[in-house]
């Protein structure tokens, strides 16, 4: 059973947005009604007039697409590169910490315990400082050019 034609389906037919079966049904309804014919013709005229008028406004703005930044500015550093930084920094960090520790352990027998502990703490702090400096230098080198 064919559903009754809805008025807005005239626009759907005009815009080619009806299914083929439904479009055929609406066309049959139009052909059998003078009132629908007049309404559809008026709609078609208005549509074509508006299309023609609107097309005059189209112009290509001078958008500087090539000047858009390569990526969206990211608040956090790239995880992959920072992971790589940590991995490559681990070895010198361990070495910087390990060598003074080995010396401290070697000398612990001859040193007062307090001095040994102090030396170990200072060695750890020095190693952390060196590692942080190296990381800052690498991040500075990897910053995109302004």
């Amino acid at each position: 059973m064919t559903e009754p034609i809805q008025e807005y389906e005239l626009s759907g037919l005009l815009d080619g947005e009806l299914t083929p079966i439904r479009a055929a049904e609406v066309l049959r309804a139009i052909e059998s009604s003078e009132e629908l014919q007049a309404e559809f013709e008026a709609l078609r005229q208005l549509h074509e007039t508006c299309q023609a008028a609107a097309s005059q406004a189209a112009f290509r703005p001078e958008v500087q697409i090539e000047r858009l930044p390569d990526t969206v500015p990211c608040a956090e550093p790239d995880r992959k590169s920072s992971d790589q930084n940590l991995y490559t920094l681990r070895l010198p960090w361990l070495a910087a910490m390990g060598i003074p520790m080995l010396i401290a352990v070697r000398c612990v027998a001859e040193l007062v315990p307090t001095m040994a502990i102090t030396l170990a703490i200072q060695a750890t702090a020095l190693a952390a400082l060196v590692a942080w400096l190296v990381r800052m230098l690498k991040c500075t080198r990897e910053q995109p050019q302004a």
Binding site: A53, A54, V63, I65
Partner: protein, 167 residues
Amino acid sequence: MTSQRQNPLPRTAYADLLESLLPQAGGYARSILRSTQDAEDAVQAAAMRGLERLGSYDASRSFKAWWMTILRNCCMDILRARTARPTAAEPVETLPARMEGPTSWEELSEALARLAPVHEEILRLRYFGEMSYRELAQALGIPEGTVMSRLHHARKALAAELKGIDL
């Protein structure tokens, strides 16, 4: 769900998609702002804003619908700034309704501006933005069936406004 952590659209793909939309974007912005210079500014602003918000773009949906929504918001920003700070911009001439219907884009834009906002918006996107029903549905956040009925009623309202075509 799209998020900043997923790979956003590459800049080159974004630029390519945007390039294909520029003529309609220019016409659409110009119809709202009635100024070629302001239309260029709006499109440039929308290009930048779209790049900043690529993370919010769902690739399964229409890029045109997503980006034209951004463009519309940029046009509204310029209009608000223009209202807050009147400048010696291009004089907006109120053109009388023509019995034969609009013969220029300025006349059509003027006629649309006299309609209810919901009708003006869909007609502007349809004719100046050259958007399909699917794109209109996504841009306006309504079902495609509603696009058809809303567009039809908007056309009837426009015809009544023009006073030349009795639908």
